[in-house]
């Protein structure tokens, strides 16, 4: 377990470093690349925390799809951030004060992995036991069972949100009847980044 703790701390420190790097870098292209690394480190940490389903999704979304979308946006807009005239001190104060308050709040929280914390004890019987009974042992993956069955309404709502966002992007960015014409003129959209 000591090995796992060490990896845990290492990944966390890398995450913090990457986030600070994103905040400091002026070049947007580099910032997008660092965001991809940040997402991938996040996915790695989720795997350590026993959430393989989430880790999959985060790896595919964070390091794959959202990086590609951000890069395509950069290709359509600009790659450099405008230099700032003077260093803004007020946001830094706000962030430090908020962060200190949050850290003070964590002092009362149960430690990570504590089996007696409310997260693990408040639901009786837990989803694990309930799903084993309700699904007749046919669905070993409790995450899928909770997602599609116990929280079926919620997931229907989430699917509808994704549907709506897709339709909205389609309405904003597609000029009527021009999608196929525009794309055949411009066969390799990422060429300028390659």
């Amino acid at each position: 377990m000591v090995m796992l703790e060490l990896i845990d701390i290492l990944v966390l420190l890398l995450l913090a470093t990457t986030a600070v790097a994103v905040a400091r870098i002026r070049n947007l292209w580099a910032a997008v690349m660092f965001t991809g690394i940040y997402s991938f480190l996040g996915a790695a940490w989720m795997l350590i925390l026993d959430a393989p389903d989430v880790a999959f999704t985060e790896a595919a979304v964070g390091a794959g799809i959202s990086t590609v979308l951000l890069l395509s946006t950069l290709a359509l807009t600009s790659r450099e951030e405008k230099p700032i005239k003077k260093f803004p001190i007020l946001p830094l104060i706000v962030v430090v004060v908020t962060g200190a308050t949050l850290v003070y709040g964590t002092l009362d929280m149960p430690h990570v992995g504590d089996p007696t914390s409310p997260v693990h004890t408040r639901m009786e019987p837990s989803f694990i036991e309930k799903s084993d009974h309700d699904m007749h042992g046919e669905l070993p993956n409790v995450v899928t069972a909770v997602l599609a069955s116990y929280r079926g309404y919620d997931t229907l709502g989430e699917t509808t949100v994704i549907f709506t966002a897709g339709i909205a992007v389609l309405l904003i960015l597609r000029r009527p009847g021009k999608l196929s014409v525009a794309s055949s003129n411009r066969s390799q959209p990422e060429e300028s980044d390659g």
Partner: protein, 147 residues
């Protein structure tokens, strides 16, 4: 990316495995880690990779935009339709226990298992097609110069 033979060859080699893995995650999600959301993003990431390396026209041949746009709605329809089907069969909305059938009993899933299978399929279809359409929208747009 015609000038990068290594990228083209490796992409062609990896493509079947990415697609196979996506389908594995989709249909094995009841037993191992996986499900509709994960499979959807993995499949879409595979399609986007293909589009980045071989160009949009090649991807349009594999996944025609009109078909993909219809699939967005089809996924939500499968999900909500499962709920309506359970209501017609006498249960509550999305109460899968009433789902049953007479094809190969014992071989094909029934009840909760069948309901979850259909719902995850709906989620997978919607997520894949939304991600692909978003990529089409961004990649198919011409950059304009600012005034």
């Amino acid at each position: 990316m015609d000038n990068f033979p290594i990228i083209r060859v490796i992409t062609k080699l990896l493509m079947p495995y990415i697609l196979l893995f996506a389908f594995y995650v989709q249909f094995h999600g009841d037993f191992g880690p996986g499900g509709g959301f994960q499979a959807g993003v993995i499949l879409a990431a595979g399609l986007i990779l293909y589009g980045l390396v071989f160009g949009l026209p090649a991807l349009h041949k594999v996944a025609p935009p009109p078909a993909i746009e219809r699939l967005i709605a089809l996924g939500v329809l499968i999900y909500a339709g499962t709920g309506v089907a359970t209501m017609l069969l006498g249960g509550k909305f999305l109460d899968y226990d009433v789902l049953g059938h007479h094809f190969l009993p014992g071989w094909l899933p029934e009840g909760q298992h069948l309901g979850i299978f259909l719902v995850e399929l709906g989620v997978g279809v919607t997520v894949t097609s939304v991600m692909t359409v978003i990529f089409y929208c961004f990649a198919g747009r011409e950059p304009v110069d600012g005034h």
